[in-house]
């Protein structure tokens, strides 16, 4: 499927996921490639967010769930019960729908991820904070007020801070769960530009309700419907000549 021969970073095989008796993900298999952005689209409740939350084991926090199948990352099976959750989450970072900085200073927000990893060197921490903020295109806006409470920032700045916080722990994969859902158009553009910049270094998976956004930022698009992966392929192809009727109907707004 990959025409550019990028290495596969994550390989999901026959994944099923249940909330109690309700099956939210049905036999899904999909690959995510290095330095590519893969977008998940589909109507609300189709399982997009549930699926990407499997990739960093966030669904472990939800009681009464069950999962089957395999998701391989660097040879480890993420779904293996014995896997080190902390190790997976450090490799697979996540940016949430609503910006969720901690009620701490801007500096502390980013330093947190380093501190919990046991980093004590103050110089190294300060350096990483700056680097992460630069990568998240936020440094120039906050460099003079690193010790202000992060909640004083605007929504868009908060979201970029969350991205910087995620970058600081040096993940390999970054999951974006509708990162622009609560942002204005200008902030949205900034986040999208950032995603295009970040893909040079990371594997990126993004869930979005906004089909134009998927078209703008992604290399691959996965269309999900009622827990199933209906279509997956290069974005240019999925959006122009979809192979499945359902995909075409969704893209043309027949349901949503």
């Amino acid at each position: 499927m990959s025409t550019e021969n990028n290495a596969v970073r994550i390989e999901a095989k026959n994944v099923n996921f249940y909330y109690g008796n309700h099956q939210a993900i049905k036999n899904m298999s999909i690959n995510f490639y290095d330095n590519k952005v893969t977008a998940f689209i589909g109507p609300s409740g189709c399982g997009k967010s549930t699926f990407i939350r499997l990739l960093n084991k966030m669904n472990d926090l939800v009681i009464g769930t069950r999962v089957e199948g395999n998701i391989f990352l660097d040879g480890d099976d993420i779904l293996d019960k014995k896997i080190d959750v902390v190790k997976i989450r450090r490799k697979v970072g996540m940016v949430f729908q609503k910006p969720n900085p901690f009620p701490k200073t801007i500096f502390q927000n980013i330093a947190y991820g380093l501190e919990i990893n046991g980093e004590r060197n103050k110089k190294k921490i300060a350096q990483t904070v700056e680097e992460s903020l630069r990568k998240a295109a936020l440094w120039n806006e906050v460099k003079d007020r690193l010790h202000d409470n992060a909640l004083k920032l605007s929504g868009g700045q908060q979201q970029r801070l969350c991205i910087a916080r995620c970058l600081a722990v040096e993940p390999e994969v970054i999951l974006f769960d509708e990162p622009c859902a609560s942002l204005d158009p200008i902030s949205t553009t900034k986040i999208e530009d950032l995603i295009l910049e970040l893909k040079k270094q990371y594997t990126i998976v993004i869930v979005t309700h906004n089909m134009q956004q998927a078209a703008r930022v992604s290399d691959y698009t996965a269309f999900m419907y009622l827990g199933e992966l209906i279509e997956f392929g290069p974005t240019s192809k999925v959006f122009t000549v979809p192979a499945e009727k359902k995909t075409e109907e969704y893209l043309s707004g027949k349901f949503g």
Partner: protein
């Protein structure tokens, strides 16, 4: 006020309906306004009485002497109205009670929040509420019959009715206040903070210590202040278990007479209009100010907390 009334709805009720509607509306509004201001009225009345009944004392006893005098001999001739022993009695008992209720209350809150299973939570929370609803006289019994003899034997002291016993019993009484308000504060921390922390690879313990507790810190301090407020104002229990000597305490094994129990014990024997009578009201005034300060502090802290968590936007 008229402008604030909403326009009456369409005239479906027919002739006279509109007038009836606005009459009802107005009556209800006035009724609730009166009810709402009633507590303000009562507060003003209480403050007025406290001042009116305590001020005459200060024409005979200097305020400084009253507050810092070391001897409380209200029935001697000449009488001495130094309230310091009573204030210190309250302070010792309150500090002691904090030592009991802060770790137990916050510990309970942390357990219920973080570790308890849904079932345990279902049992623990109502039990804590019930503990808070037990009448203080029952705590008094418990203190006299169980804690005091135990303390007496354990430390081999002449009487178990002392500051330590009062501290332990009052501390237990204040646990529900501290525990339930702290638990509220913890569960008020948005779950998004938790998710963010986990997503960065933090474990449960790191998340609790470094994210959840700091975010709930102001709410937890509020719970401690309100617990203190409860302890300082508590009367019946201290009257029963603190021993009752109006002497500056030297240790937790000394018998003490906190301010509240002094008022309760002496009001019956003080002749109305006497200096002693006015002095007891003046103690009431001190208590009023202490709890006022505590409550204002709690209010200020919890307001700051809401702003800090971005809940006020």
């Amino acid at each position: 006020m008229k402008a604030a009334l909403p326009p009456p709805p369409s005239k479906v009720t027919g002739g006279g309906g509109e007038i009836l509607y606005s009459f009802k509306e107005r009556t209800i509004k006035i009724l609730f306004t009166v009810l709402a201001f009633a507590s303000l009225f009562f507060l003003a009345g209480i403050v007025f009485v406290l001042f009116k009944e305590s001020l005459p004392l200060f024409s005979e006893v200097k305020i400084f002497h009253f507050l810092f005098g070391k001897h409380w001999y209200p029935t001697y001739d000449p009488a001495d109205f130094g309230v310091l022993p009573l204030i210190l009695g309250s302070v010792w008992v309150t500090v002691g009670a904090l030592v009991v209720c802060v770790p137990l209350g916050i510990g309970t809150a942390l357990y219920v929040y973080e570790l308890a299973s849904a079932r345990q939570r279902q049992i623990l929370k109502p039990v804590i509420e019930i503990l808070g609803g037990i009448p203080s006289i029952v705590y008094g019994f418990f203190g006299m019959l169980i804690v005091a003899p135990f303390v007496q034997k354990l430390f081999n002291i002449p009487t178990g009715l002392c500051a330590l016993t009062a501290s332990v019993v009052l501390g237990i009484m204040a646990i529900p206040t501290v525990a339930s308000i702290s638990e509220d504060a913890l569960s008020f921390v948005p779950s998004s903070f938790r998710e963010a922390s986990f997503a960065l690879g933090a474990n449960r313990w790191q998340t609790l210590i470094k994210v959840i507790i700091p975010a709930a810190a102001s709410g937890i301090s509020t719970s401690v202040i309100l617990g203190m407020s409860r302890v300082v104002g508590e009367t019946m229990t201290v009257l029963m278990v603190s021993g009752g000597s109006a002497v500056i305490p030297g240790s937790f094994f000394d018998s003490v007479r906190p301010m509240t129990s002094a008022i309760a014990a002496e009001m019956g024997e003080a002749a109305v209009g006497s200096n002693h009578y006015h002095a007891l009201f003046a103690i009431g005034l001190i208590l009023f100010f202490i709890t006022l300060i505590f409550n204002a502090a709690a209010e200020m802290i919890s307001k700051k907390y809401r702003v800090k968590l971005g809940l006020d936007r």
